[in-house]
Symmetry: C2
């Protein structure tokens, strides 16, 4: 019992009026009689009319689609950021189309292209781990596509963005470790070309410097953000004669890997080694000991990014200076880093 396609013309024919009248009735135009409006609405419902947004958008030269490009949807941070975006975009009448890149630059470029070709009104994005330059993003904005970056951004790209204050968060986390009496604190980092990891490293360094603790290059480990890499690195560290006495990791996942590996090796956390992660993934509360980490205000960041984008879309006048918002993460102190506490 498939419907034939029912368009405003079908309805018009049935009622012996023109398509324009139907269009006006359906779109709530005022220049139409109450009677006709009701009749049209009733008939449309009866006939199972579904407006064709593509035709409408084509004609109006404007749609209601906002694209979101992110590395992965199943990260605490990103899924909550999306929730924040929806809280803003849905009431404003926009729909979200979400593309996962799985950290692949190729997929990121593809996704952006698809959104452009589908005439999205704008794009909110966080770059993939692989992405080394912003040529594709620059091209999109040059072509008139409003873009807002969030969390993982490209530096020196003159674009609205919303980020965590990774520097401040990392600084605070490291300072906390120092206050707990840890001295030989190593850092697990991500890809250092990504602002996020660069800033976390800088925050770590600043806290160390302020406390007159040396940071040598063998204390910084690149590209350690997965559980597996955390486990492997911890194993490697175990074979060395001197273990660090604390780890500040840019990732909860690698912190988890290290925590488990050290624990299995009989090392006491936090007595022998203190550990702090980043992102407040749900599991951090459940590890034994529970993992100290930093909560990022993901929903706020999502909301802000969506607001900025909608501003860009709707006020077509160009603000010359791009907006830049920053949210300071909150340190969540749990057992894995509390050497001084008696409990």
């Amino acid at each position: 019992m498939k419907n034939q396609k029912v368009t405003i013309h079908t309805i018009a024919a049935r009622l012996n009026i023109t398509a324009s009248t139907v269009s006006r009735a359906l779109s709530g135009n005022k220049r139409i009689s109450q009677k006709t409006r009701e009749l049209v609405n009733k008939t449309a419902a009866e006939m199972g009319y579904k407006p064709n947004h593509m035709a409408s958008n084509l004609r109006k030269g404007k749609g209601n689609l906002i694209g979101v490009i992110i590395p992965r949807i199943n990260r605490h941070f990103f899924s909550h950021a999306i929730a924040g975006m929806e809280a803003i975009t849905n009431p404003a009448g926009y729909n979200l189309m979400i593309c996962q890149t799985n950290e692949s630059q190729a997929k990121e470029i593809d996704g952006l292209q698809t959104l452009i070709n589908n005439r999205a009104e704008g794009v909110i994005m966080s770059i993939s781990n692989e992405t080394r330059n912003g040529a594709h993003i620059q091209a999109a904005t040059d072509g008139g596509m409003p873009v807002v970056l969030f969390d993982r951004i490209i530096k020196n790209l003159n674009i609205d963005h919303v980020i965590n204050d990774n520097f401040a968060g990392a600084y605070e986390a490291t300072k906390h470790l120092i206050e707990q009496g840890y001295k030989n604190i190593v850092h697990f980092s991500g890809s250092l070309h990504i602002n996020v990891y660069e800033q976390r490293l800088n925050g770590y360094k600043k806290a160390m410097n302020e406390a007159n603790l040396d940071v040598t290059s063998d204390m910084i480990f690149d590209n350690i953000i997965t559980r597996l890499s955390g486990e492997e690195l911890a194993q490697t560290l175990l074979t060395k004669n001197k273990l660090p006495d604390a780890i500040f990791s840019s990732s909860d996942y690698s912190a988890l890997g290290a925590l488990i590996t050290f624990k299995n090796a009989g090392i006491n956390i936090p007595q022998d080694i203190g550990i702090v992660g980043f992102a407040n993934e749900p599991f951090t509360e459940l590890t034994d000991p529970a993992l100290t980490t930093l909560e990022q205000y993901s929903e706020d960041i999502g909301r802000s990014a969506a607001r900025l984008l909608i501003e860009r879309i709707e006020n077509k006048q160009n603000k010359e200076v791009p907006s830049s918002l920053s949210f300071k993460p909150q340190l969540i102190i749990r057992k894995s880093s509390q050497r001084n506490t008696i409990d």
Copy 2:
């Protein structure tokens, strides 16, 4: 430096040919000279031409959008199911538009409507907790929209679907508890109008009956699928004079809540109480003791759902009998249910 809109007409004008020729060149039509094709492609690139999918889809009466409607994207099961779908849909040239319902029927209906109005080729969906009937889904399929349901489905709706064999999984989990010597096994369930929870309950009952263990109504707890409700229920159970000796929960989250509450109350898991959850959420491996649970083949389920949908979309002939696929979950035995093991 915003681009003017560049269309096939702009390109045609520049080259003193017609739009039809440009269209043919761009779309790889064979009836065109090599020379023209190259010239057009080169010019299009130079001018920054972006094909307008909306116009193309409108004209062709067909697009490449597949909608996905799910309760939440940040569940292990759903985010992995989406990954599975993408693995099938992307190579086939389709794009996914993902809508979260947050367990609200209203948002589910909205999302479906949006997809219909955007002329999605088809929809893959898993119903919200709130959804009590399939009228909106029936209406969509009656209107010619191909739909495949997965995981949480509506019974008695003649629609392709892909599900977990929740009955078998629950049966196996319960049997495992019984084999470990637990006898007074209670069940945490979800909303029983959802197939998923109904089947898990049935599997539990069957295993209990086979072992000649009574199941009375006070052993079954409805709507206990969040961590909070698991904690609250565990607290309540603690106040009663007789605790159950095991819990088979339909949800890892409520199992977690119970595990933590009991542990804090000084109850030994698995000696005093055995616990089994469902879904193999990542955290289940990390709880203390680690939580026995069931892995659902989420990526396979996603892939299968996508394959079924594409079949429906592309073979327009109606199979009269809807396909029904079922994947048996795998029991993952961890410490929380192993009373007999010495380790």
